[in-house]
Point group: C2
Chain length 494, copies 2
């Protein structure tokens, strides 16, 4: 390694890149220790800060980990996927994924498609999963659990976790609840499933949803119809909700998916009135802990405990693969929800519940959240910079919080996209992106009514370098498809 | 401790009892190390074998654990529950639990009732849960999983676990299956739930069940009716199944619940014919790994892959609280089952799946099974001895395998039990038992048609000493209720 080959001003970047490539081609073996920062700095004749910064970046993208006494160690699995074999242009996923309306297995099909950079929304920084803290919590839980705790448990969840979640929600979401108000579920997906079962049995025949609004959520409300209610800059339009006449609505008030709008004060009051008159709100608080500019607005549940079914999970705090979430329902619904849960699978597994309770109570989860919030903010900044450079015409929505942003552009019927609707335009770009090894969601997946074309881009799980690279590629594709609205325009209007 | 106070011939017993009481009253602190066997033997002037045997018994009932280099250490939680406050005679659970037909929450109500000895069936030796091996497997899994594995996964389960389960079933159950045939589920309860969803959508209007047969299983088939088909000494009566006319039947062929009958060869052939003519068999292979006398008969699934939905779990191998099971369905049902699973909760958690796969592939699970099979056999023997002594009239069923046995007695309408039906007789004894701090299932919970009174008694989770004590108490209660059929009779007719 010769720092004289480094570009000016980018020594840390250069050093991180060099080490990454040494790991990739095996010169630095898994488990081996990097030199102490002082030693390497002396050797390369750079300042120690350069080495520290390079190690920090390598840590952030999962190539190395700091071990307290063990120095900095090369990890088995670098975060960045091995440069995938460029998918053949005729790979089935790339060919069919975006041409038909998305079916129930569309997210699995997209996951299965090969790609270099995965910008699908909904995942936090997974390389930062606190493996050591989790194992520590599990060891303590295993030492502590009584034999009876390995038997069948309470379908509402383990008391220790329900207590920890109640405290977490009080600290972070302004919700005043006790363990009896909390039901542990296998993620928000199961919470919605149980609610659908119970609401259908009560005669609810549809659940209104925001538009734009999450495709995944609409799928989970199956078989109930999900009439769309428009979202504007203040959030869901309560007048339109009233006009629709549905008895229940699913909302994402703290950071609307996918637009990022925060529900305005006037709308909050109107919604509360609607609920007090008998409407039921399902509040999907999917990423409220990830606000960058100021604390998130309190949950609707905090003000309307008897009119809101509140659901959240650790999917965006820790990892979707944990499949742990919670549901706080009005008292009237609880017996039926417990019956539905017992019938579904008898309840959640004991060990992960005990471990998560410890992680929450020890402060480890709060520390982890602070850490990834820093990662996410830097990644968001890299994505916005990439958009400004490579897609200067795009309008960016919802970048003040969360794990994703949405960009839109004015629809022009005369682009190269076949057909000519807005949905044709964004699925055409998503198709081309997937062919180039970049996964994105077309905004049209998440809309039911006419809407400008757009992309929903997750940045939280991808380090800055591949993020920037992916944006450059999206810019090239937009030029190739002759999308004027992305090339030129008013820029970031968020 | 003075071995001269020990009863003749029972030195190991005496020593184990002395140490137990030293742990109970705090003279031996949690985490402290027991003396080396040689040291203690010298000190007490007994043979070293006596000390080794005493330590083995303490290990078996969860008071101590052997640590490779750390000697034998006192555990935090002795297996035997602290002598619970004697439940007041008017404790709500004891009063109402057995008087009405069992509702959907009956098992939770029974779990919540205080008791000294829990003889409810369905749990293996939970004190023996391989905590160290599990933590080792989890550590290895955490070190190995890629960041992407912490995201959303395959609703059919993690490939590594599906592979491990396929191999496990091939080794242990004669089933020839690959990973694509296996779907991981959150326990058998979820497998039944998914099947009910799919079968109802296909127009199946009821699922025939064995009688006697598991109450819990019938509850999980809700809302489908579960017409009873009688079980005799050869297993389910296929002629009666044909006469019933249901399109599907749920069976426990390897060790019928609760009678323990093994499906006979003639019946197997008749069932296969019924299935080939279009019948669907749901095979609940709930405890086939726990055969004491000879290897279990192969699963029906081994011979009829396209007519059997096979389900099993680790609930009886490791612990119900893991909530991990599997479902092997005929190809025709798989797409609908995957859709149902995605809708239910998107799939199982990644970490426990990865850990279990390692436990299966490393041989740790096989070793654990050998260990607990020994425990279970000794506990079964203690239970049978207790029955012979204290309930000499009882007929014992199904003691050659599994985690429970069933005892019945001839019905006499003139016992002290109010009413006078067989169900009144066994629920009266179960009620009295619970008041005395002993939990049992009345056989009538697990029957739909007239049947002699009986009890279903789990022995696997309870060490020999409290087992014997509980049987003595049941004997006293049977005498108090003047149940002639338990006091005198033909003895063990299994």
């Amino acid at each position: 390694m010769d720092p004289r080959t480094a570009p000016r001003g980018g020594l840390a970047d250069w050093l991180a890149r060099e080490i990454r490539s040494a790991i990739a081609d095996g010169r630095l073996a898994t488990g081996s220790r990097l030199p102490a920062t002082r030693t390497l700095a002396d050797e390369l004749r750079v300042s120690r800060g350069v080495v520290t910064e390079a190690y920090r970046r390598l840590g952030e993208d999962g190539h190395v980990a700091g071990r307290r006494r063990g120095g900095t160690v090369v990890l088995a699995v670098p975060h960045r996927p091995a440069p995938a074999p460029a998918p053949p242009p005729e790979a089935p996923a790339a060919r069919h994924l975006f041409t038909a309306p998305p079916g129930p297995d569309v997210f699995e099909a997209l996951r299965a498609a090969p790609a270099r950079v995965d910008l699908t929304p909904g995942r936090p920084d997974l390389a930062a999963f606190p493996r050591t803290a989790w194992l520590r919590a599990e060891r303590a839980a295993l030492a502590d659990l009584s034999p009876a705790a390995f038997g069948y448990g309470d379908p509402r969840g383990a008391p220790a976790l329900r207590e920890a979640v109640a405290r977490w929600l009080s600290r972070n979401r302004g919700i005043n609840a006790g363990p009896d108000d909390v039901m542990i579920v296998n993620g928000t997906a199961q919470a919605l499933r149980l609610l659908v079962d119970v609401l259908r049995a009560e005669g609810v025949d549809r659940v209104a949803v925001e538009d734009p609004g999450s495709l995944g959520v609409r799928q989970h409300l199956h078989p109930l119809p999900t009439p769309p209610v428009p979202v504007d800059a203040q959030g869901v339009r309560v007048d339109a909700l009233r006009a629709e006449g549905a008895a229940a609505v699913l909302l994402t008030p703290a950071h609307q998916f996918p637009t990022g709008v925060v529900l305005g004060g006037e709308r909050r009051r109107a919604l509360m009135e609607w609920a007090r008159e008998g409407g039921l709100i399902i509040e999907d608080d999917y990423d409220a802990e990830h606000r960058y500019d100021r604390p998130a607005v309190p949950a609707l549940r905090a003000q309307l405990p008897e009119h809101v079914c509140y659901t959240g999970s650790v999917s965006k705090l820790l990892a979707p693969a944990l499949r742990i979430g919670w549901l706080l329902a009005p008292r009237a619904y609880r017996p039926a929800l417990v019956d539905a849960r017992r019938l579904a699978d008898l309840g959640s597994a004991a060990l992960p519940q005990a471990s998560l309770a410890r992680l929450m109570e020890s402060g480890d989860l709060e520390r982890h959240l602070r850490l990834i919030r820093g990662h996410h903010r830097r990644r968001r900044d890299a994505m916005i910079a990439g958009i400004r450079t490579h897609l200067p015409g795009a309008t960016v929505h919802g970048a003040a919080a969360g794990l994703h942003l949405t960009l839109t552009w004015p629809h022009e019927a005369d682009t190269d996209a076949a057909g000519g609707t807005a949905a044709d335009a964004d699925t055409a770009l998503a198709t081309a992106a997937l062919r180039s090894g970049i996964k994105v969601h077309p905004l049209s997946w998440h809309t039911q009514r006419p809407h400008p074309p757009g992309l929903v881009l997750g940045y939280a799980a991808v380090p800055p370098a591949p993020l920037t690279e992916a944006l450059a590629e999206l810019g090239r594709l937009a030029r190739a498809q002759n999308i004027r609205g992305l090339r030129e325009g008013p820029g970031d209007r968020r």
